[in-house]
């Protein structure tokens, strides 16, 4: 089973076309293995992206270097997956 330990979901909100373009370009960077949950739309609209642990630092550094603000929407994806699994098991026992 694939785990998501240390993966985070970042919420990026591009504020202008230039930032939007930069975020769009991230989609092409396969090495980072980013998983866009909400793809870039237009300035002002949130982009949610799941970032594997090894890509977190490079991505955050890239965003910060370009002045693109972001927040951490999900601190550790695996924690939520585990919670969901526990909830399903609990429901089954019930």
């Amino acid at each position: 089973t694939e785990t998501f330990v240390g993966h985070q979901v970042l919420r990026i909100v591009p504020t202008n076309d230039e930032e939007l373009q930069m975020v769009q370009e991230l989609q092409e960077l396969e090495d980072l293995q980013l998983d866009f949950w909400l793809a870039p739309r237009s300035p002002g609209h949130p982009v949610d992206v799941r970032v594997p642990f090894p890509s977190l630092q490079p991505l955050k550094a890239h965003l910060e270097a370009n002045g693109i603000s972001y927040s951490i929407m999900i601190e550790d994806v695996q924690t939520l997956v585990d919670d969901e699994q526990m909830e399903m098991l609990r429901s089954h026992r019930r």
């Binding site: 089973t1 694939e2 998501f4 979901v9 919420r11 396969e30 998983d35 866009f36 949950w37 909400l38 793809a39 870039p40 739309r41 237009s42 949130p46 949610d48 799941r50 929407m73 999900i74 994806v77 939520l80 997956v81 919670d83 969901e84 909830e87 399903m88 429901s91 089954h92 019930r94």
Partner: protein, 310 residues
């Protein structure tokens, strides 16, 4: 497994086997209303089922609803289960639904991408695509919402098999898509087609592959406005609405662009809840509220289709 759909736990997420068992129970309990059709098989040979809700008649005008084409969007499959039970519970007592079923059949495909769904349960909770193998690539799967014959392969879809929006080698290459295409064509009398995704709280109508507005844009926009108002009336959930390309982004090869071009005027796609905190890991306690509010919007669309035959 539950002994009846009355004791089925609608407040929890369920496995593929449990959902398929639920369908069988629902059919067994309501043989005069519900039947189960197998419309095809997935890449990994899982049966693809559709529930048919009908009061009789032959080839009556119909409404199609599908959930779970993107497998990790678990709240959609769970909502589909809830919709199925809701139709059974309300088909006599709810005047609006009763009159819809007096004139039309409803088809509900709860697990549109069964391979992907099984994969989310066993291997990768966040799997989105189908599970077809791509020749010459180490990557698996096609985005089944980019695989339809409507602007196939155009902008807003990827030719890279490793991408989450990979459009596939050719239109309808995915058996999960082809099964619906064949069903819709063979039926020939589907008047509303609603494809349900999650999570950005949107109600969308065609087109996604072109900026050209659909000829029925005004009517579809007005229906969307009413449907969203109904949805929001329950818990205040905020939805945006409009055409795919103007509301989110360009996306080619999408489901409802094909259905609209096929002549199904009332073609819509939902993006159900999340408030932006959990994404595809929406806690199970949100299933029923999400389904309840969505049902109100679905009824608006279905009633409009009932009252505006074409």
């Amino acid at each position: 497994l539950p002994f009846s759909t009355a004791t089925f736990d609608y407040t929890s997420y369920h496995s593929l086997d449990e959902i398929y068992a639920f369908m069988d129970l629902l059919v067994a309990e309501n043989p005069n209303l519900v039947s189960k059709l197998e419309i095809g098989q997935s890449t990994e040979n899982r049966p693809i089922y559709v529930l048919k809700f009908s009061k009789g008649g032959t080839n009556r005008p119909a409404i199609w609803i599908d959930t779970g084409i993107h497998s990790r969007e678990w709240v959609t499959q769970a909502s589909g289960v809830w919709f199925a039970k809701k139709i059974v519970l309300d088909h006599e007592n709810d005047e609006g639904l009763a009159s819809i079923l007096d004139k039309m059949d409803i088809f509900l495909e709860i697990v549109t991408n069964p391979d992907g769904f099984a994969f989310t349960q066993a291997q990768n909770r966040l799997w989105r695509k189908t599970r077809s193998k791509q020749s010459g690539s180490r990557c698996v799967g096609v985005d089944p919402n980019r695989n339809w014959d409507a602007g196939f392969g155009g902008s807003g879809a990827s030719k890279n098999p490793c991408s989450e929006t990979y459009h596939g080698p050719y239109a309808n290459s995915e058996p999960e898509v082809k099964a619906i295409v064949d069903f819709v064509k063979n039926h020939g009398n589907i008047k509303a087609f609603i494809s349900i995704h999650s999570y950005s709280q949107l109600l969308l109508y065609p087109y996604g592959y072109t900026r050209t507005p659909v000829p029925h844009q005004k009517e579809l926009h007005e229906i969307s406005e009413k449907a969203v108002a109904a949805l929001s009336s329950l818990y205040g959930t905020k939805y945006k609405y409009g055409s795919i390309i103007t509301t989110i982004y360009q996306a080619s090869g999408g489901t409802i662009d094909w259905t609209y071009n096929e002549g199904i005027k009332y073609s819509f796609t939902f993006e159900l809840r999340d408030t932006g905190r959990y994404g595809f890991l929406l806690p199970a306690k949100f299933i029923v509220p999400t389904a309840e509010e969505t049902w109100l919007a679905l009824k608006v669309i279905m009633e409009h289709a009932r009252d505006h035959p074409y």
